[in-house]
Symmetry: C2
Subunit: 433 residues, 2 copies
């Protein structure tokens, strides 16, 4: 591991940071009754050592992946960037309550205020920071709909890293706004498969005219990162360190709920694809449940078209289609599962974060599956009451909460994780308006 001297863009500016921006990330591993099963080497099936991950990730993130301490300090430079949009608002949904005629008190925690419109920058900034600190000059990644590629490009712009993104060709062709967003931040975006990598060229030969897949794009991004010691790879969900970075969401929500006089909500709904938004919102509540015996119920809302938690097996599986990644213990539909082309592109993943999978397996969290029609209809109800058009992913949590609130007979407290806005995914609503 090489460490460069702090360059100017990594030094804190010394600006004031809103006091509600957390000072530490919360690590659920410290409070779980049983440890999260380790990632395994795909060849030996033995637990991975740090050196196995070193070609792709900086050592700081590798150590966070296996960390067991409860709190990990957030670097000042990262907190300053968080302070550009954090704390994100926790809003009492008075108008939605009125529209539903429910006695419940509904709150939503809104991550759509970030510069790219979702929760993804919470980890993009952290990953870019640690990489830059250890001398990485370029990050590669894959993206589907483009939220993650845009978030990493944003983080790269602020922290002085080149960012190269392989975007699934079907999205690259059909969603030009996201590509321009990445490029506006200085990122480079290629359709995948591309002729820039061996993997891409082989795929173009074996699958002429293919519209691409996340699995193919991962292969290209990993190949480029592995070839250059100054280039690393970055993943936007699934891994433990990503869950860790997102816990700023739930920590803020707990403080904000306490100020609103509803410190211990009855139930929290979050959408779940790879698991990072769900974990970020719910893990701090789950930790309190485990430490203090509070009884906040936590509900993962996944799409019924890609139901890894509600219908998948809990076993070791690969994170990618090609079977090149470490083996992760997770709820999975199988690495070869191809989800239908639902609108919530961010939830189309065959597996689920090992930490989330473990928590569900231990009975610490619940999971429900929501159909696309119900989800997007709920999104419209929300938009017309609260004025914010939710991201298609977020509508799954909205739908879960609305169904629950409609049945409520007591003034129970409901929290919705609104992971993003739907500005760049408006076509998802076109058949429902």
């Amino acid at each position: 591991m090489t460490t460069t001297p702090l360059n100017r863009s990594l030094e804190p500016l010394g600006v004031s940071i809103p006091s509600k921006v957390p000072t530490h990330w919360y690590n659920l591993a410290a409070d779980l009754p049983e440890p999260v099963p380790p990632h395994l080497h795909p060849g030996t099936r033995e637990p991975l050592g740090p050196e196995d991950l070193a070609p792709l990730f900086p050592m700081s993130l590798i150590m966070q992946e296996v960390a067991t301490e409860r709190y990990i300090e957030i670097p000042e430079t990262v907190r300053e960037i968080y302070g550009m949009w954090r704390p994100s608002p926790l809003v009492r949904a008075h108008r939605l309550e009125r529209a539903l005629g429910t006695p419940a008190r509904i709150y939503y925690k809104y991550e759509g205020v970030s510069p790219v419109g979702s929760h993804k920058p919470n980890t993009a900034v952290a990953q870019a920071y640690y990489n830059a600190l250890e001398g990485t000059t370029k990050l590669t990644t894959e993206t589907g709909a483009g939220q993650w590629g845009a978030s990493l490009s944003f983080a790269g712009a602020l922290l002085g890293l080149e960012v190269e993104v392989w975007q699934v060709r079907s999205s690259f062709d059909s969603k030009p706004y996201r590509r321009i967003q990445m490029e506006a931040y200085g990122g480079i975006c290629h359709p995948s498969p591309s002729d820039l990598t061996e993997a891409g060229r082989a795929l173009l030969k074996s699958h002429p005219g293919t519209s691409g897949s996340l699995g193919m794009a991962i292969s290209e991004a990993v190949e480029v990162a592995a070839q250059d010691p100054n280039t690393h790879y970055s993943l936007g969900s699934v891994l433990n360190h990503v869950m860790l970075h997102q816990t700023v969401i739930g920590q803020e929500a707990m403080v904000q709920l306490e100020e609103a006089g509803d410190a211990v909500p009855d139930i929290v709904f979050g959408c779940a694809g790879g698991g990072s938004n769900l974990a970020g919102l719910t893990f701090p509540f789950l930790g309190r449940n485990l430490r203090e015996g509070t009884k906040t119920r936590l509900v993962a809302c996944e799409p019924s078209a890609c139901p890894s938690l509600t219908e998948g097996e809990y076993r070791y599986d690969f994170g990618d289609v090609a079977g090149l990644t470490p083996l992760l213990k997770m709820h999975t539909l199988g690495k070869d599962f191809v989800p239908p082309a639902i609108h919530a592109g961010g939830l189309r993943y065959h597996g689920m974060s090992p930490m989330v999978s473990h928590a569900v397996n231990l009975g610490l969290m619940d999971a429900i599956a929501v159909g696309q029609d119900e989800a997007l209809q709920a999104g419209l109800v929300f938009a017309r009451a609260e004025g914010i058009i939710p991201a298609p992913e977020s509508t799954h949590a909205v739908a879960g909460a609305i169904a629950h609130a409609r049945n409520a007979t007591e003034p129970e407290v409901i929290v919705i994780g609104l992971s993003g806005n739907g500005q760049l995914d408006l076509p998802a609503y076109s058949q429902y308006v």
Copy 2:
């Protein structure tokens, strides 16, 4: 004028409103050394009476159009809706200052946090409220790029009004995201010219295959509003009451600047099309200049492709192409001026708000013209430093401020009006990335 009993959606919810949301709109007319020239009847060329406007506007807004009192109280229901995203952030642009190497202290007032992504809801909510209060059940309007149609649809959803929008056909066809955004809020959006109105049918006959224009769309919206006593027409800029509603921007900025220790900025840059964003930000500063002798310089930044303030005549002209509206005293390029298809669709108007025109004519404000290339390049500099991709309209103010800051030798205080984000206008950047 008929007044309906308050229906449920017009009553305040009784929720807490952030203390920095202004309680009153500020009316520059109270502080101007000479009154704003009145609007004239197009037939008689005599000053308009309230009854002349009654077929199109509710009496509350007609009275605001000619009001001379300094402060007009904001209804509680409107303030509660403002409180969903207001006060909008005033941000010190530390990273931009560093990127420019300027000794200036740069702030931006960011209206892109509103649910539709710009300042337009500030007046849409007020106009929908007064209309609903006086019994209007439907609002019609025209829209070009779609920001205004989306904002009025948002306001209609929250206040229980039907909203029907005629969108210039070229935008309707090329910008489907905005149309879906309007529809998600329950608005109805037609391409213009349409076969739904006499004006539209005549235009389709006389101009077969036309891609439409704002002037044509205004004719259709006005025709429909004039035919039904329960339907009114709504305009998103230019008129005095629109300038009034937008002054929440500048009032908040003054409080926020004082808290930041820079109570009297040296210079404020705002983009100018019809004038509402510029007026909203600058009029409160201008009023203080006039009352207290402060010397904050105020600069309107218009596109060099549509330079009404810097190259237009100051005279009475029609607000629309067909010559059906009242005559307004304004800086104008002539009602038949057809601006080129620049990316900042919100700045493509042949005239300029009479209040802004009057202030410029009296020498109380300055105006500069900025080219599209310079504007969008400045937008990219801003995006890569501050993480927010500005709306193409806003980039004109950003460009003005950046040019000024680059020449600064003293730590002067610069304020930029960032009227919106560029999420739904990303293609504007495509040739610059």
